[in-house]
């Protein structure tokens, strides 16, 4: 019991220590960039979210701590400070790293299916649906004489049953 109590007391302390340590580590990764105006700052932040880190693949350059992401952030900062527009910076990066650096891919022959795929899927589904609907009334009249007779009989029976 006594030992357990001790652990219970220690735990919050340990947790606090962890939190302090890790928060310090994450703070250390944030670079400070200074801008002349709010517009440039906004462009910079939009760009670092839009550009993908080629080294770490599934992170944008704002999130990644990779050395290369840092370089790309610095370059982006430099270009934005020179007064280049968002598109100009994206073009600069694409010219060097390919369309891979964009989280917002352009329409090219290789990517056209990202747009056309769902559309074709819907059209195909609609066509199937239309055909099914068209088929149904035809089917309902497909009874031969004997079946027709039986149907009438059943309907009559049903009418009688519900009346009584």
């Amino acid at each position: 019991m006594i030992q357990l109590n001790k652990v219970n007391k220690l735990l919050p302390l340990l947790l606090a220590a962890c939190m302090i340590l890790f928060s310090h580590a994450s703070q250390a990764a944030i670079d400070t960039f200074e801008f002349e105006n709010a517009q440039q700052e906004k462009t910079f932040h939009e760009l670092t979210k839009l550009l993908r880190c080629p080294k770490c693949q599934n992170q944008n350059i704002a999130d990644s701590n990779a050395e290369l992401a840092k370089d790309l952030r610095n370059k982006t900062y430099e270009l934005v400070k020179q007064g280049q527009s968002k598109d100009q910076v994206v073009d600069y990066m694409v010219a060097r790293f390919g369309n891979f650096v964009r989280y917002d891919p352009p329409v090219t022959p290789a990517t056209i299916f990202l747009w056309l795929g769902p559309l074709l899927f819907i059209i195909f589904g609609l066509l199937v649906l239309i055909r099914q609907i068209k088929k149904q009334p035809a089917k309902a009249n497909n009874l031969d004489d004997q079946e027709q007779q039986k149907l009438q009989q059943l309907l009559k029976q049903h009418a009688k049953d519900t009346k009584s």
Partner: protein
């Protein structure tokens, strides 16, 4: 007749599935690595630059060194363990008479020179890209990378990762020999 048409319509989703499966399975079975990206510079000339020689800070080079013969441009650094692994193979290629230019990327000059002295220097020219300026223009995203440059100074291929006997014989030798 109706049955036949029905079978055909039912086949359509199956065929679409097969095509999709082939499309998705090919890269898996071929073992292609999604972390290896094609260079955006294939078919283009090596970008303009001015860089110092690694041994001699007064000696400067520009993009004209990449013209006149086909060659490899190897991007390396002393902080890169894979570069250490491939260095022996680079020495072997150099011995076979390949013209290899080295680009030391974001590194320490002293360490780099010691590396070349200790492990032998396979490079005809050694560029020192301290700031990573040419690396950025070449779209280098990790060392080692090797660019295949033809005699007109046009980049024909980029290999990401180390050069070794297997990858060279399986793939890269053919690319090198196809270049003019």
């Amino acid at each position: 007749m109706l049955n036949k048409r029905r079978v055909l319509t039912l086949l359509v989703p199956f065929i679409i599935f097969i095509i999709g499966a082939i499309f998705l399975a090919t890269p898996l079975l071929k073992g292609s690595d999604p972390s290896k990206l094609d260079s955006a510079l294939i078919g283009q000339a090596v970008p303009e630059f001015t860089l110092q020689d690694i041994y001699d800070a007064d000696k400067q080079y520009d993009a004209s060194i990449f013209k006149g013969q086909k060659m490899l441009l190897n991007v390396w650094a002393t902080w890169c363990p894979t570069c250490y692994a491939e260095h022996t193979y680079l020495n072997k290629l150099a011995k076979q008479g390949l013209y290899i230019v080295g680009m030391n990327y974001k590194d320490d000059r002293k360490k780099a020179i010691r590396w070349l002295k200790d492990l032998n220097d396979p490079y005809k020219i050694s560029l020192f890209d301290k700031s990573g300026m040419l690396g950025m223009d070449l779209g280098v995203y990790g060392a080692p990378e090797t660019f295949f440059i033809d005699s007109n100074g046009i980049i024909q291929y980029r290999h990401v990762g180390d050069l070794n006997n297997k990858v060279w014989n399986d793939k890269l030798l053919a690319i090198y020999e196809d270049m003019q």
